[in-house]
Amino acid sequence: MDHNEHKETRALSSSRRAYDLILRGLLYFCAAVTCLLLVFVIGYIFVRGLPHITWELLSTSPSYIKDTIGILPNIVNTVYLVVVTLIITLPLGVGAAVYLTEYAQNKKLVAAIEFATETLTGIPSIIFGLVGMLFFCQLLGLQASLLAGSLTLVIVTIPTIIRTTQESLKTVPQSYREAALALGSGKWYMIRTVILPSSIDGIVTGCILAIGRIVGESAALLFTAGMGMSMNNFFGSVDNFVHSSGASLTVALYVYARERAEFDVAFAIAAILMILTLVINLAASLVGRKLKKH
């Protein structure tokens, strides 16, 4: 009896072992395919793009006369987009997050707004582009301009800022709030001096993620920011600042690849964008960790 029972359990374990082995093999296969795909894409872009990144490419405007291509205007346009978008989206998003976690009383309303922001993050950005074109470019009369592009990107990035800020605000211990209020602090003073400084890591992380999104965004800008390749003089006048239009790096990639068949330039831009993304992500995790420690 005893012996039989023993045998039975052993038989079971060997079939289980086979099952386990097959499943494990499958999972390894999935992981390997994913990794290989990723390595292939990154490798391919770097192999084709890196040799074409030259100082001339980075530091000049395109010239038909000299028949050269430079992406300096696109770099500058991208910087414009990042800066202007952040200036608008950061206060809005942080303000909304503070309202939702610190002030709002109606739990259902908060849940509804949180659900809406979650949903916004999942919407294909070409739809934001369409809305931006109709609303900012046409209705508000901004035409295709970097400002209209920035405003569109505000809508794209605001859910990210709200969510990361909120997550961070929620981790601030309730005891900090109690301590500040018990000393006679007003609510806003408490938020400004204790709550926001304690959640700065989340805000900075959100900021960096937003920068990543802005740098990588193309669909929302195709319709809204224009496709010009020449240098803008943003600070020449208010009119220049509002109406300058032009292609960001991503849009330039599209234009060079699709309309001019300049694949070397397109791959060079792609490699630059990948490096930027890498740097931005590294910065996000580094800053997050560093600020959290304090």
């Binding site: 009383q105 005891s175 900090y176 301590a179 500040a180 018990a182 000393l183 602090s185 304090h294």
Partner: protein
Amino acid sequence: MPTIIEAKNLDLWYGQKQALKKINLEIPERQITALIGPSGCGKSTFLRTIDRMNDLVPGVRVEGQMLYAGEDVYSPSVDVTWLRRKIGMVFQKANPFPMSIYDNIAYGPRIHGTRKKSELDEIVEKSLRGAALWDEVKDRLKKSAMGLSGGQQQRLCIARALAVQPDVLLMDESTSALDPGSTMRIEELMRELKKDYTVVIVTHNMQQAARISDRTAFFLLGEMVEVGPTDKIFSTPEDKRTEDYISGRFG
């Protein structure tokens, strides 16, 4: 001793649940009053009603009066900021802000408009001396308060509360998370503090109440059963329930 805080027929509800029932209690100036009773009896709730920290709880409702210096703290004309400046609070768990020791102490005075560095320096030193912490931290005022030990953090919180020059100090089980040595230091500190301040403590530790308080109030199921001089409460209580509790028959 004149009365500084007085509850008159005070009722309090959390939503539907009544947490305090018709409390009448006078708290005399410059003495230590201990509130004792089993968990959930309402002693902490009562303490938090004095400085209106219960306002933070959604759905809280108060009836009756809570008088501080003759004024009902729930009257609309009372400025909560003023009230909480006059009535400081120290919590169960030490809750220093994640800033330097100096900035922790200066936090309160800065709220109330003190900006000058020389004044702040003076307040910081005075408060830290008042909380018997000065000698331990005077060389590292700019270091983070999070690096202090648990007992030091709690004394820092006491110093932070003293820095706004309150009249009353409320302590909500402020030694329950500390080791015996730190507890003893804070009890010594309380005896010092009662020379200048009115101290109200909530404690689970009956020996502590017996050791340091002048008066003791016993709470049970939202009611204030009995109040009197601590010696009397612990030797010849009038109410059977008080006797059962202090002799350890329940709780």
